[in-house]
Symmetry: C2
Subunit: 304 residues, 2 copies
C-alpha cells in the first residue's frame, strides 16, 4: 500500500498538533493491534505518563481499540503512528514487521527506540542491522505469553502477568535501549526479564515454544473416530491446547526458525522411536527409567 | 501377605459389630487411598446415606484418611474392608487391584458390586471373567481425572468435577450394576458418563491419555542446557505438565496396553516425521495445511 507524500504530510501535521500529545509527553506507538499488540496497549496504559497511538491494517480493530481505550488515538498508517514517538513496538508477524519498519524508519524521530514482539529474531535482527540508521535504536522483545486464540477481541492487560520477557540485543546497542525495554516489561507485568543474542533466543524458542506447538498439532493430526470428550481429561486438554493455532502466523514463525526446529524434532522423534521400540520389546526397566528421567528433568526445568 | 484365618475372623467380627455400621446402611469399601481412592472417598461422603471403610497398605495414609474424615473407618486388610460392603472400589495399580480382588472375593457379601478405577482394563476384565463367582457383580470404572502429583495428601473431593466417567462392562452384566456406578459417578461430580467394552476403552485411552503422557515425557527427555523458566510460557507448561509422572504406575499402565499404544505411536511419529521433512524442504503449503487440519481437528474433538 502506497501513500502519497502530500497525504502523509497532512496526516502527520494533524497528529503533531493533537492536543492530547503535549510537547514533552512520552509517546508509544504500537503497530499491529492483535492479541499481542492489543494486550500490550492495555498493559502499557500510563507507562511513563505517556500516550499510546495505535495502528492496525483493520480499521474495525482500530475503532474497537479506541472504544475500549486500549489506545489514546489511532493513525492512518505506520508512518503516521511513529511520528514523534519515543518508543515504537511492532506487533505483527515477522514479514509484516520488517515491511512496516522499512516504511516507518524515515518518519521516526531521532533517538527513538524501536522494538518488535516476534517469536523468531534472526531475520529481523539482520534486517535492522542492514536498515536502521545510527540515529535510531533497536532491541527485540519477546514476551513469553500468548493464548490459543488471537485478535484484539482476545487481548487483555493481564496477559503478561508473571511472564518471562526476553530482550534480544544486536551485536552493539545502548544500555538505555535495554533499560527502556526492561522498564516496559516490568510495567506490563513481567515476572522475569532476560537478555539474549538472537541465535541463543531462536535456538531456545525452537524448544520451549515451536516444538511444543508442533507436538500439540501432531497429536491432533489424527484421532480415533469413536472418541468423545468424555474419554479425555487434563492430559489431553493440556497436551493439545496449543493445537488451536493461527496456521498462517506459525507457518511463518516455523519456517524462519527451520534449522533450530529440525534439530529439536530430530531429538524428539528419536526419543519417541526409542520409547516405541522399548514398548515393542516390553522393556519395563527402559520405560521406567525414561519416565523417571523425564519427571526429574521437568522438575529441574521448573527451578531454572 | 497371608493372614491367618483366626486373625481374619476376629477382625471381621469386630467390623460387623461396629455401631457406625447399623444393619441396612449402605457400605462402600475403598481399597487403596492414594490420589484416586482418597479423592473418591472425599467425593463419595454421604453417597446413599452410607458409610465408607478404607484400606491402604500404608498405615500412615489410613491414619490421615481417618483424621481428615475421608473415611468413616479403616480396616486392617482388604478382606476385612469388604466384609458387608455393598460396593467395593479397588483404587490401586492394575496388578495390585487383581491381587486385592483375588484376596477379597471370598469375603464379599452376596450381590456386592465390585469395581476398579484403573486406566487400562483388558487384563482386569479377563481376571474378573475367570475369577468372579456368579453371586458377585462387576463393571470397571475409569474416572477421567488425575493430577501430575499422587498420594492421599493430594486427594480432593473436587477432582472429579465435570470429568468424564467411563463404565467398562464385561460381555454380560446386570443393568443394576451399571446403574449403581452411574449414580456413583454423578454423585462424585461426573460431567458425562459413557459405557464401553474393554477393547474400546483401552484403544481410546491409548490415545487420549497414554499417548499424551508419552509425548509430554519425550518432550522432557532432553532439553537445551541454557534454558531458563523465563524462556517458557503456557505452551511449554501445558505440553509438559504430565511429564511429572509416577514412573512405576505408568510403566505398568503402558505395558498392559502396549498394542494400542504402539499403534498410536506409529501414527504420531509418522506425522512428526512428515512434518520434519516438510520443514527440511521448506514446504510452506504442507506446514500450513498440517497446522490448519490439527486446529480443525482439535476444535472438532471439543464438540464430541
Amino acid at each position: 500500500m502506497e501513500f502519497s507524500k502530500s497525504l502523509q504530510n497532512k496526516r502527520l501535521e494533524s497528529t503533531c498538533h493533537d492536543s492530547r500529545f503535549p510537547d514533552g509527553g512520552f509517546k508509544t506507538a504500537i503497530i499491529g493491534l492483535g492479541l499481542m499488540g492489543g494486550s500490550l496497549a492495555y498493559a502499557l496504559r500510563g507507562f511513563r505518563n505517556g500516550k499510546i497511538v495505535g495502528f492496525d491494517i483493520n480499521a474495525k480493530v482500530m475503532e474497537a481499540a479506541k472504544e475500549k481505550e486500549a489506545v489514546d488515538s489511532c493513525a492512518a498508517a505506520p508512518e503516521e503512528a511513529v511520528a514523534g514517538a519515543d518508543l515504537v513496538i511492532f506487533c505483527s508477524a515477522p514479514g509484516s514487521v520488517m515491511e512496516n519498519m522499512g516504511r516507518a524508519i524515515p518518519f521516526c524521530k531521532d533517538g527513538a527506540v524501536l522494538t518488535d514482539v516476534c517469536g523468531v529474531k534472526k531475520e529481523i535482527l539482520a534486517f535492522v542491522s542492514a536498515n536502521l540508521p545510527p540515529r535510531l535504536n533497536y532491541a527485540g522483545l519477546h514476551p513469553m505469553a500468548g493464548k490459543e486464540v488471537s485478535g484484539f477481541e482476545n487481548a487483555e492487560a493481564g496477559l503478561f502477568r508473571g511472564a518471562g520477557f526476553i530482550i534480544v540485543v544486536p551485536e552493539s546497542y545502548k544500555e538505555e535501549t535495554v533499560g527502556l525495554l526492561r522498564a516496559l516489561s516490568l510495567y506490563a507485568g513481567a515476572g522475569r526479564v532476560v537478555v539474549n543474542r538472537e541465535e541463543e533466543h531462536d535456538a531456545l524458542i525452537a524448544y520451549t515454544s515451536d516444538l511444543m506447538h508442533i507436538s500439540a498439532s501432531a497429536l491432533c493430526a489424527d484421532y480415533p473416530e469413536n472418541i468423545t470428550m468424555a474419554h479425555t481429561a487434563g492430559a489431553f486438554r493440556d497436551c493439545t491446547r496449543v493445537a488451536r493455532i493461527d496456521a498462517l502466523l506459525w507457518t511463518e514463525l516455523f519456517t524462519k526458525n527451520a534449522k533450530n526446529i529440525i534439530a529439536c524434532l530430530d531429538i524428539y522423534t528419536n526419543n519417541l522411536l526409542k520409547f516405541k521400540e522399548a514398548m515393542e520389546r516390553d522393556d519395563k526397566p527402559f520405560i521406567h527409567d525414561f519416565l523417571q528421567k523425564a519427571n526429574d528433568n521437568k522438575n529441574k526445568i521448573l527451578t531454572l
